[in-house]
Symmetry: C2
Subunit: 321 residues, 2 copies
């Protein structure tokens, strides 16, 4: 067994990654990444991933494959329910397809659950038996570890903190609801709302405008953070509103489930110290006095799904799932 | 073992109850209840409960005692953290005190967790492995069953749906937050807000006024339900606002944890068909399309904590806790 390898595959919305680990090691033998084309589909995604995998494996014996997928997954059956970004994934039997192609047992789960497991086993979640991992990026997703194991819920959908409502009269989200956490705290939505303010009022957001040389379509979450750091009130206000919504959502989740720790990852968490302070303040304001929770930044960055996929495959080999 | 008895004790905010069950039976040998005095304290509560227990037991052999307590409990240590209604309970070692007095092993948990277990084993939660029980009464509390076991969280505080925030600009709750579910959906708060409207505007709430013969201090949750059933717009509006807040909270909890079933008990759930429809509609409006949850009325009424206490003691005897 010790000579065997574990393969980790990460099907992302805009990029794919594959990594190979020698069983028991703490660092990759090799990692390969590939950006998705402008109009991807499921068949393309799978062929790309298999090419990455075969280039990594080079005929070595793979004991198990862990897979992170960027969308809802039926974990028990290893079937992708759909992708919100890429067509062709509807009810796709990904575990079966990959088992056939790679000749090893395959375990598939959605990216938030897998990243939560990665942070739990290898990252900022070490030592916490009960935690919520939240990614605040192009969307806001989450995954639970309860009693040291992924908690997926009755339909594999647990962890959807991004679509909990915190401002019922708030702006409309693509999900059809108003004022859910994702609508207020995710990068693209904050950028869009800032852009709207600048388009309506030419006197506002001078620092923000200068950063994109007047091309408002270039405003994204990262530009917002830079503008806020330089003192732009529109950018600061937008990040503050997002941090408050997220903190309220975290406080609500902690009152409901009482985890020890909440770990925040994703691009928006690099928005600066002030953003973290605002998230923390809103969380504490929402917690009951008897409820406590530690708020920590993720440790594994973009590699959390790959490390989680390793842990998933490892659990499978250990018979723990 | 089959000749032994199990004792269930329910320390409520305003009343105490004790029940005796023959091991393996599905109905009580005997139940005793006692209302609390106007100014109770912990010592009085315990002496009252022990008197009820001794009158029930009459020298029979008790194999185990399950206890429901109306306030936060450190389950592992069997220690009451505090009561929000009765002084003297701060850090009280209730399990140890009762073990000494009754000569049997004692398991203590808070009333929402115990009621959730009662509904799970004997009531509307039968057949569901993952559920949230919510009591909507003088307060709004909740308890989880996950994988068929009570889920208490890292500090025994899980289930506090009443203090999740759903309207951040809403009215101020005693907990210090605005617009939490309890502030909008519990009986006394709805009654208070209706009373405020009637005091401010003598033209409104005619049906409600008639029901209490003009004495607005007599408006409570039950009177609101009656007035709404007779078509009073103030009462209907207040119940609708409460149902919407509760449904939003339930939808948020289901998106976060993905239970199979949510069970609603407590006085406010008798407010009528319209209230249930409103709760259901707000829940569905908040759920992600991929998330489903069954909403059911509690089956055990006031006896849920007693039946849950039996299940708790039973689990202890079976070594399952």
């Amino acid at each position: 067994m010790t000579a065997d390898f574990i393969l980790a595959l990460d099907f992302g919305g805009t990029k794919h990654a594959a990594a190979l680990l020698r069983h028991g090691d703490q660092s990759w033998c090799d990692v390969r990444r590939r950006l998705s084309p402008a109009t991807p589909d499921a068949t393309y995604d799978i062929e790309t991933m298999l090419a990455l995998a075969r280039a990594l494996v080079k005929g070595r014996r793979v004991a198990a494959v862990g897979v992170s997928f960027g969308g809802p997954v039926d974990f028990e059956r290893g079937v992708v329910r759909l992708s919100h970004h890429v067509p062709g994934w509807e009810q796709f039997p990904l575990a079966a397809r990959l088992t056939q192609a790679l000749g090893a047992p395959v375990v598939v789960d959605n990216d938030a659950n897998v990243a939560a497991l990665g942070e739990h086993v290898y990252g900022a979640g070490q030592g916490a038996r009960h935690l919520l991992f939240i990614t605040v990026s192009t969307g806001v997703g989450g995954g639970w570890i309860l009693n040291g194991e992924p908690w997926r819920g009755a339909e594999g959908m647990a962890g959807e903190i991004g679509h909990t409502v915190v401002v019922p009269e708030g702006p409309l989200c693509l999900c059809g609801k108003r004022g859910c956490v994702e609508r207020l705290a995710s990068g693209p939505y904050m950028a869009r709302d800032a852009r709207d303010i600048l388009e309506r009022d030419p006197a506002r957001g001078g620092i923000l405008r200068a950063l994109v040389a007047g091309d408002l379509t270039r405003i994204d979450g990262s530009v917002l953070s830079q503008a806020a750091a330089r003192g732009d009130p529109v950018a600061s206000g937008m990040l503050r509103r997002g941090a408050q919504a997220l903190g309220t959502g975290i406080g609500n989740a902690a009152n409901l489930v009482n985890p020890e720790r909440v770990i925040l990852g994703g691009g928006v968490t690099h928005a600066g110290v002030r953003w973290w302070e605002d998230v923390r303040a809103a969380t504490v304001a929402t917690l009951l006095p008897e409820v406590h929770v530690e708020l920590l930044p993720a440790a594994l960055g973009d590699e959390a799904p790959l490390w989680g996929a390793i842990a998933l495959a490892q659990h499978h080999l250990d018979g723990a799932l």
